[in-house]
Subunit: 354 residues, 2 copies
Amino acid sequence: MKTLKNDRYLRALMREPVDMTPVWMMRQAGRYLPEYKAIRAQAGDFMSLCKNAELACEVTLQPLRRYALDAAILFSDILTVPDAMGLGLYFEQGEGPRFANPITCKADVLRLPIPDPEQELGYVMNAVRTIRHNLNGEVPLIGFSGSPWTLATYMVEGGSTKVFTKIKQLMYTDPDTLHLLLDTLAKSVTLYLNGQIRAGAQSVMIFDTWGGVLTGSAYREFSLDYMQNIIGGLQRESEGRRVPITLFTKGGGQWLEDLAQTGCDALGLDWSTDIHAARCRVGGKVALQGNMDPSVLYAAPARIEREVAAILAGFGQGTGHVCNLGHGIHQDVPPEHAGVFVDAVHRLSRPYHQ
Amino acid sequence: MKTLKNDRYLRALMREPVDMTPVWMMRQAGRYLPEYKAIRAQAGDFMSLCKNAELACEVTLQPLRRYALDAAILFSDILTVPDAMGLGLYFEQGEGPRFANPITCKADVLRLPIPDPEQELGYVMNAVRTIRHNLNGEVPLIGFSGSPWTLATYMVEGGSTKVFTKIKQLMYTDPDTLHLLLDTLAKSVTLYLNGQIRAGAQSVMIFDTWGGVLTGSAYREFSLDYMQNIIGGLQRESEGRRVPITLFTKGGGQWLEDLAQTGCDALGLDWSTDIHAARCRVGGKVALQGNMDPSVLYAAPARIEREVAAILAGFGQGTGHVCNLGHGIHQDVPPEHAGVFVDAVHRLSRPYHQ
C-alpha cells in the first residue's frame, strides 16, 4: 500500500483535524472541460467511455491536473447496476438515460439477477484499479452507486421523468413488488460497492437523486431503509484504514436526522439546505459535504468567493466539512471558475482550522 | 352580498372553529375529468378556454358537481400576467408553456408595462365575476397568481426548464436586473390580485412553484421578499369579511418559519413536509393547507383513506387545516378516487373538531 500524500478528504469525513477544508466537485470529470470532450469524442458514446478503463481513468484524472482537488471520483454512471441486470442502458441525445427493457411487472422483478461485480461489472472494477494505480497516492479515490430507490425509478419509468407516474403507481398500488425490487437492488449495490472497495475505492458515496420526491414516511420505507441495509453490509475498513460512507439524498434536507442515524459517516447536502442549520442538527454525528449552488460558477470570481466564504462561515470552526457543490457542475461553466472555487475553499478555510 | 352557505374553507384559514376539515384539490378543474376534456375540446387551446368567461366558469364548477368540495378556484393559468405584459404565452403540445418574446436583457425588463387588471387582464376579472355569480354563494371562490420569482423563471427561460440556467445566470451575474424584473412583477401581481378580490375572489393564493430551486438566502432575497411586498399591498377585507392569503412555495419546507412571517394567513405544504412537524413550527401563526401526495390517488380507496387518516392525525385536534393535495391532481387518476379523497377528509375529520 502506497502512503496517501493528501488524506484531507478522508480525515474530514472522519471529523479528524485538517489544515484546510478539503474540496472536490460532483461531476468534476465532465463536459465543462474541453479535454473531457476530446476523450469523449474519441470513445464514442458515454457508456463506451465508462467501459474503457484507460479512457475512464484519463477523464477521472483530468480535473486533478487543472485544480488542487482533494479527491478523485470514479468516472462511471449511477445506472451501471440495472444495466448489468440486463435492462439495456443507453443514452438518447438530449433525453438522458433510457432502458431498452424497463420493469413492467412482478415477473420482470423476479427474473432480475444479482450481478457479480467482477463479471458483469468487471469493467467498473478495472476502472477503479486503473485509476488507483495512476493516482499514485496523490489523493483518495471515491467509488459510488445510485441508491436502490433512485435506480428503481429509472428501471420502472424506463428513463428520466419529471412526474414519476409509473414508480409511484407501483408504490401505491403494489408496494410488495417494489419492495422486492428494492431488496434485489440493495443486495446488488452492496456487492457492487464492496467490489469497488476491494478494487481500491477509499471512500464510497450513495447518490439518492430522487428520494426527495417522496413523502417523509415513504422516504423512510422505500429509500432510507434500503440505504441503511447497504451500509450494514459494507466493508468498513480497507488497507488498514476506515472507508467512509457518504449518503446524498437530493431534496432530503428535511430528513437529515434520519439520514444521520443510518451508520454512514457523512451526508451530502444540496444547496437548498442551510449548512449552519444542518451542522446544528446532525454535526455531532456525521460530517457534511456541500453545498454551493453549482449555478454560482456562472458568476464572476468575486461573487464565487463570497459564496464560498458564506458556506465556510456557515459551517464554522473545526473539521467535519468537505466543500463541494450541491449537485453536479453544469456543462456550460467556464473552467477557470471551477478553479476559483477550489482555490477559494483552500485559502479561505485555513482560519477555521487553527 | 349573498350569504355564503359553506364558509368552512374561509373559517379554517382564519383558524376559526369548523365542524369538519374543509377540502379542495389543486387543479380540481382539469384533464382527469371527461367533462373538462369535452369543454376544452370545444374551446380549442388552453388560453382560449381561460379567456372565455362562460367556459372558464363551466370548468370551474364541474368538480363541485361531482364532489363535496369546500371551495372553488378560478380556472386560469399562473402565466397570465407575463402574457398581459406582451410576452406572448402559448402552449406547445407536451412541452408546457412557452413565451414567444422571452426576457433577454435589461432593456427588455425596462420596457415591460404594468398591466391594468381591468384592461389586458379583463378576461380574468370577467371570469371571476361570472364564476362568483354562478356559484350562487355555495362555496367561496379562490383567486390566484404566480409568485414574482416563479413568473420570472418562465419569462427569462422562455418556458419550462429543469435546470434554470438562464434565470440563475441572471441572478448570479446581474442581480440588479433581476430585482428590477421582480419589482415590476410584484407591482403587477398586487394590482392583479386586488382586481380579482374586487371582482369577487374571497381568498387568494400565491403559487411559488420554483422557489424551492434556490438557496435559503437567495430564496429570501429573490422570492420571499417580493411575496411579502405583495401581501403588504393587498386589500385584506371584502364584502365585510377578511380575504385570507395563502402562500405556497413548492420545495419550501425548510423555510416555513420565514414564510409564516410575511403576513399571510396560511401556508400550502407540498407532500415532502410532515404536517405534524409543520404545525409545531408555525401552527401558532398561520393555517396549513395540504398535503397528500397526488400520486396516492392512483391507489385503491382503502389506501387513499389510510393516507387521509394519517394526514388528519398528523395535523391533530382543532382548526387551522385545509386538506388538499401537495400539488396538482394528475390527469390520469380515476375521478372516483378524487371523490374517495374528498369524502374521507370530511368523514374522518369530524372527531378532530369536537
